[in-house]
Amino acid sequence: MTTLAKYLFGVVAALALLALTHVDPAVARDAAQAANAPIVSAPIASAPVAAVAEFQVAQAEEPPAEEPNATEGEDEAPPKLDTGDTAWMLTSTALVLMMTIPGLALFYGGMVRKKNVLATVMQSFAVTCIVTIVWMVISYSLAFKDGGAMNAYIGGLDAFLLHGMGSDTLSGTIPESVFMTFQMTFAIITPALICGAFADRMKFSALVIFMVLWSIFIYAPIAHWVWGGGFLGGLGVLDFAGGTVVHINAGIAGLVCALFLGKRVGYGTENMAPYNLVYAVIGASLLWVGWFGFNAGSAVASNGAAGMAMAVTQIATAMAALAWMFIEWIVHKKPSVLGIISGAVAGLVAITPASGFVDPVGALWIGAAAGLGCFFAATTVKKAIGYDDSLDAFGVHAVGGIIGAILTGVFAVEAIGGHPGLLEGNPGQVWTQVVGVAATIVWSGLGTFVILIITNILVGVRVSQAVEIEGLDINLHGEVVQ
């Protein structure tokens, strides 16, 4: 325990150092802002998700301007609180939290063996708590506040400890408190998804350290790149609800974790059948329902864009579930329960970046591609390469996310999201999407690797073989499922 205390102290000290180093750039930025009036006059409201802001402005003005500028729009008419938007965003926030607890907890908990059920459920629950605090302290600020000279890559520390957020500060047409909490639930589910890759063998102490570091150094920057005014949003990468930020990010981190930790004892020889697929079905269903908050909520408004996002989410999910079910029926002779729910999650992942930009027919194709692609990744590719991604965090979330991100560039409809895709004669969008995917893969992959090395030096990432064989529940948490 004393060593753990030492490491925690070290983490806090590192955070404090980071805060100090940001003092200088902040001062410099103030000077820059004095010369650049619009940024100063635009209050917190310039913070909302860049992609979404662009999207809404494009909706309002009939001929979509090339890269409409959110700041300009807000200068003309200062945003007022919209009670309809606020009500929907309060609801969405609750829905997205429900995706992690109990949704993901049950989905993952049902798929592991009986001896590891509690440890797996504990991971989702603990991540929820850890990321809530980290987000409140620093990550929200790093993701959504202006980073001055470094703004293309990382936000600033203006909102350290949520400084400046009152009950009357707005973010677009909703209170900033709602926007911050809504984004917090995204920051929570992303690292929780990674747990699927290292299930059955990660130390809990290592998980705690890993999640704190990952949330700050991987999630916050990538969220900033796409939504907080960073370079990917600036390039025009379309990511409505987090295909790159959430799913590719978590999936790639999962693959790196699976490779770093190595295979589970007995992988490929022992029976690793799920403990209780009914739990997994309940979990997947809660994910599906919660995803309406995730995708339709990413409109950050209660309007037609949110409605269309909800419709295409439902369509793509059903299509992907059926695609997985039928291909499995053909290849493995039986349509399995685990198969249809896996397909549904693959479809939810793939439609995530596309949900504000495609029409229902585009959703149908994205769903079909995700169901087939993720089936192939989670069965054939995993077996061929031989990594042990326990619950297919990579096979479903990274592969589904990449399929969705790239197909967003293909199927984007100008009349819906203000951005034409390949099918409307804009092949450049596909390339832009590829750049977004590649940047996410590189940062997530390398960063996760470095964080794993640090965590491994501090406490060791993997449990002993004896603990792994007897089970994590009794050894790490002192409890068992009877």
């Binding site: 039986k334 896996s342 989670a378 077996k383």
Partner: protein, 112 residues
Amino acid sequence: MKLVMAIIKPFKLDEVRQALTELGLQGMTVTEVKGYGRQKGHTEIYRGAEYAVNFLPKIKIEVVVPAKMVDKAVDAIVAAAKTGQIGDGKIFVVPVEQTVRIRTGETNESAL
């Protein structure tokens, strides 16, 4: 007295219980067990990962009967538990030396 021990398919339990009750036998002990015989196991597939499951779930019934009832009891179990498919199970008959009813202290056949 004989102990009749039958391993049967789980879904046949109720039919077997009924058949034995009709013979006038009062009471039995039932256990959920796993095992294999000629049926061997089966294969489960989860996201493409195949697992051979060697031990299949069965039900074990234990009934102690008077010696003269053994053949009837065995026949009743066979009739009730038979599907004709592989994996119907087996019946073992073994001698019992003594029986005591705990509540009254009765012994042997009067304790059955």
